[in-house]
Symmetry: C2
Subunit: 249 residues, 2 copies
DNA sequence: CCAAAAGTGTTCATTCTACACCCATGG
DNA sequence: CCATGGGTGTAGAATGAACACTTTTGG
């Protein structure tokens, strides 16, 4: 409805008699909008999250999710990409919206509602060492997370849940793994995200039956054991399964 | 980050030198926030959606989703419940957030970002005839929907997708069916929502194996065929499966 | 030859699917 | 006794879990 008769009558009840557009601006256009990003990374068999250490009040010195206010003439998803770009230098990250958080008292500076996003990064693709990242930004192990500022604990928890549901029902990994990877690596990724253990043989059968991977006919080199066959994702099949979905686990 | 060093430096780049909190209010607190609800109903084997006919500009005369602006001191979910209450008279509807829509130009009156919700109603529980509902509110068949105002087409489509995923992975129906119902009714509901056909015997086995229903030892009356056994949901099991999830279809 | 991880095959149990069949009621 | 929808049983296929086994590399 937004501003039809119904809203109008509401407004009249509250004794405004000036034209509708002005009313809206005075009374309703007082919200701040921000974006908070839960950036998942994967490195050395561990699921990681990108956190920042706050350098200013409120919550100075506390850990928090990277985020920023959205500019009045900026689309939300553009703001999300901007934040990630500034933070990591990477331009086209996979990102998806999670939920909106709009409790009246969630932000001490006023009525700021925030949109959660989650993103996935293959850390090894982009220099995992601190120097390449913005100041005060750190990768934290997912199972050793500190308390976070604001309602960021909740935002993070919701994002993990959504990531896990997502992993079970559509292909993911493209964004977290190197272009060429071994099946064991894919298995380790699933195990890290879902916090489960799978049988090697059965895992392989499940994945292969999705017909999602391309056998690159290449082998690992220099490993002190039988080298693994390398695969990459079939982009067409990947997109198809993203739409149609599948079931894993 | 929201307003730490990072944001601060951004602000300084744009030549603000007043204290941070003031800057925020002047420059950033200009957003309007609204809620738009996709209310699904189920009646006579058909999935329905509640739509309103807009009585004022913009988009006067066009169909739209019910929605309203959020008050500056009102929580978003409270606003959503308020809208549904005013519209339907029902107080505690099942509602869940879908996504946020924040394109700069999505609303002609200014920068209004909107939060999508979907809700489920058993129409027969609440007088499906027009009179009981607010003026200009109508149930429309899901497969005969008109074009909608704003970006409401997209909001509605996203909501259906989310509803469908939801139905496949947790129990739903409690909210759409009468307290006592026959298995065939539950099957028809699933078929309406997912737009599929299921084998009667197999559908029953799937549902019964979830151990979700209570056999009321009651029968339909006055039907011109063998009367069906009536069931209701086991609330405990229902809540459990909502958390743990299951897989259907 | 050994350790370590890659990769495969088989068995058994469980679940899914299709379809045929019987049952209770009103007219 | 018939039409209508309720309700059940079963055979065969497909899938999944567990686990043992073979293969290939470096040291």
């Amino acid at each position: 409805m937004e501003e039809d008769d119904y809203t109008k009558s509401k407004l009249q009840q509250t004794n405004f008699s000036v034209p509708y557009y002005e009313i809206s601006y005075e009374k309703f256009f007082q919200f701040g909008l921000s974006v908070d990003c839960v950036v998942f990374g994967y490195h050395e068999k561990k699921l990681k999250v990108l956190l920042i250490k706050r350098g200013a009040a409120p919550f100075k010195g506390k850990w928090a999710l990277p985020g920023d206010l959205v500019y009045p003439n900026e689309n939300i998803d553009v703001a999300a990409k901007r934040i990630l770009k500034d933070l990591t230098g990477i331009n086209n990250l996979f990102m998806e919206q999670t939920l909106v958080y709009g409790q009246v008292d969630r932000h001490p500076a006023g009525r700021v509602i925030t949109t959660g996003y989650y993103a996935l990064i293959d850390i090894s693709k982009h220099d995992p060492s601190a120097s390449a990242w913005a100041d005060g930004v750190y990768w934290m192990d997912f199972d050793e997370l500190p308390d976070l500022a604001f309602d960021h604990d909740k935002i993070l928890n919701d994002a993990v849940e959504i990531l896990r549901t997502s992993v079970r029902h559509k292909p993911i990994g493209f964004e977290l793994l190197p272009v060429k990877f071994a099946l064991a690596q894919l298995q380790e990724l699933y195990e890290a995200i879902l916090d489960e253990k799978y049988d090697k043989a059965n895992f392989r059968k499940r994945i292969v039956s999705q017909d999602l991977l391309i056998d690159l006919k290449e082998m690992q080199k220099g490993v002190p054991h039988r080298p693994a066959r390398l695969y990459s994702f079939d982009p067409e099949k990947y997109e198809l399964l993203k739409k149609k979905g599948f079931s894993f686990g």
